[in-house]
Subunit: 375 residues, 2 copies
């Protein structure tokens, strides 16, 4: 298997955007190509969760490639719900690792803010098991169920959960591309309106537009892909053994660390899928970054803050950088790359190994990606 | 790059099906796994063009894997409009060729016959460039434009075009899984109702339900993947240099033959994307299987019939086997494999090298796959 390097990374500002989705994706892609010093990739992998219903276009890989002026570059679309960006990264990785391509542009994006929130919620809710959906389950409702179990069975407290949101908003305040670059206080989080008990508005990520892209290459670049791992689980929550940890994350992490040949202790910082604040606590333990039962207290103690021992979500995370679905898995990787090469002005860490963790659906299709600085 | 083999191939009967789509896909997948003698693949690649709107489900790779009892097997979805099955095959190929996986199940399917035809046409039409779509362009309308140019500029006659449909229906009559296993006469084709002048109903493929699957492996099997090539073109027809040949097919064929290390002369038979009968004539020349300007006459002369020099679409093609969108690219490969291993009872060819050709959108994202018998 060939070594694979990330030679470029770019993204748009995340938030409410008026540009058409292919234009946002071109903006991110051209930024990644510019950083890589590459005029034209050998292949393109496009991530979009549901362009047919969000923006009304199909054949979307060809649409995006044509829009970027790359109509003659081979392209395909990859989708695994909310982790589509990470899945596209893996597909590009396989194309380079196999020797099929020397350079691959991976670009993901989504545009949703022009659609009424209940409709967005309905469309995202199609990721849920049809039977559970038929009883009215929505993503926030199922996440609330999980959060309630976490509090009841593992003693996770409301302040520990709120601390995730407070920290990630504080990080986003240093990220000019974040959807919500605004600090929030513990009191504000805990007084924000209830979305699905016990989850409040400021525990939940926003609906965002945006795009992110990376360039993968078989020639040495500033960042090496050390490991990529995927993990999956049953579509139906009722078929799982455990509500308070995600097998899909555990499996993905194990696979990524096995490929990398090192363990969680080598990770200097991570971008974790905090679509709901408690999910960051679950991921910390599932990946093995902190011991079981400790994620809440170490978060409250500030260990996962920018100046802590193990910074988590320096970008602001899904919570505050924003969550443009298929862009998110790539936006996490962009943040990792920028941190590793010293381009994260205002929130720069001193780091060598980064981890990105993306959740597809309600943790049915998760990915862990390990990146290592070449220096 | 590792050698990649097809060790299993299976598909459902194509036509109007009442079963849910994941069930059709499981039927095809389990048949492919049975032929491969494999209980459980290491990874799954799912092809579906638009399950969100055709069947109302998202997160579809996880949905299908869960339904098959493979919730713990890594899975992702690949989409390139009507060539999604071929794109998924390529993705599985890359996973095995890179050494990332030893065995990959690739399964594609679509279910559309429960939806009113105008709505299906609208959904498929989203593959067309948005600007051209805004003027009312549909797939049959654009195909008719191309057909008209083919007749005017290259002297292709109505009987030559009709002969494609007559031949493919005759082949389908020997295929128990075909949507339309019924012969049609030249007169019937030429008297069938006009869909979009000069294309008549019996020049056009039907709307079909169905699924197809293959198992790819890094250990020697009965059929070797000799080459896989992709070609792309502008989304907009008005941006192309030529209407009467498809650059995307030409590029895909060149790439596949380069990987295989042999040329079109080695091909014993082919499955070509005849969504509209004239497209078979275009593909024959674009791939280099017949000299320019000869595809019409050799078809009329019976050279592409089952007992001809170069059998084309022994399965019946999209025209008569049917065209369940994302299943199609894989159904073509299933037919190739079955022919190469002697499982095509009733229409068995004596062949060693097979070619499958799949068109995505209006020839924006095309694939050519070359398969070779191991014996």
């Amino acid at each position: 298997m060939e070594e694979v390097w990330v030679t470029g990374a770019g993204m748009t500002r995340i938030g409410r955007r008026s540009e058409p989705l292919p234009e946002l994706m071109a903006e991110a892609a051209l930024a990644a190509l510019a950083m890589a010093g590459l005029e034209r990739p050998e292949a393109i992998v496009v991530a979009a969760m549901n362009p047919e219903e969000f923006v009304g276009d199909g054949n979307f890989a060809s649409n995006v490639a044509s829009h970027m002026g790359f109509a003659d570059v081979p392209t395909l679309r990859v989708e695994t719900a909310t982790s589509s960006g990470a899945a596209a990264f893996y597909t590009g990785f396989a194309e380079v690792a196999s020797g099929l391509c020397s350079t691959v542009l991976v670009v993901g994006g989504e545009k949703m803010t022009h659609i009424a929130t209940p409709r967005v919620s309905e469309l995202i809710g199609r990721s849920i098991d049809p039977y559970e959906r038929s009883y009215g389950a929505t993503m926030p409702a199922l996440a609330a169920l999980i959060t309630r179990a976490l509090m009841a069975r593992h003693g996770v407290g409301e302040r520990e959960i709120a601390a995730v949101a407070v920290k990630n908003h504080a990080h986003a305040a240093r990220n000019p591309l974040a959807h919500f670059p605004t600090p929030v206080s513990m009191d504000e989080v805990m007084a924000s309106r209830m979305v699905s008990d016990p989850l409040r508005l400021l525990h939940c990520c926003p609906i965002s537009d945006g795009a992110a892209a990376v360039v993968l290459s078989d020639t040495r670049g500033p960042v090496r892909v050390a490991g990529v791992g995927q993990g999956t689980d049953t579509l139906a929550l009722r078929h799982r053994h455990d509500l308070t940890s995600f097998r899909a994350t555990q499996t993905a992490a194990r696979a990524a660390f096995t490929m990398a040949g090192f363990g969680p202790a080598r990770v200097d910082f991570a971008e974790l899928h905090d679509a709901f604040a408690p999910f960051e606590l679950i991921a910390l333990e599932d990946i093995g970054l902190v011991p079981p039962g400790k994620s809440g207290t170490i978060t409250l103690d500030g260990e996962t803050a920018l100046d802590g021992r193990l910074p988590i979500n320096p970008s602001g995370g899904l919570k505050a950088r924003g969550h443009p679905l298929a862009a998110t898995g790539l936006a996490q990787i962009v943040e990792c790359v920028w941190q590793l090469v010293g381009r994260a002005e205002g929130r720069q860490l001193n780091a060598r190994v980064a981890l990105a963790h993306s959740i597809g659906g309600l943790a049915t299709n998760n990915w862990v990606t390990l990146l290592e600085a070449s220096r």
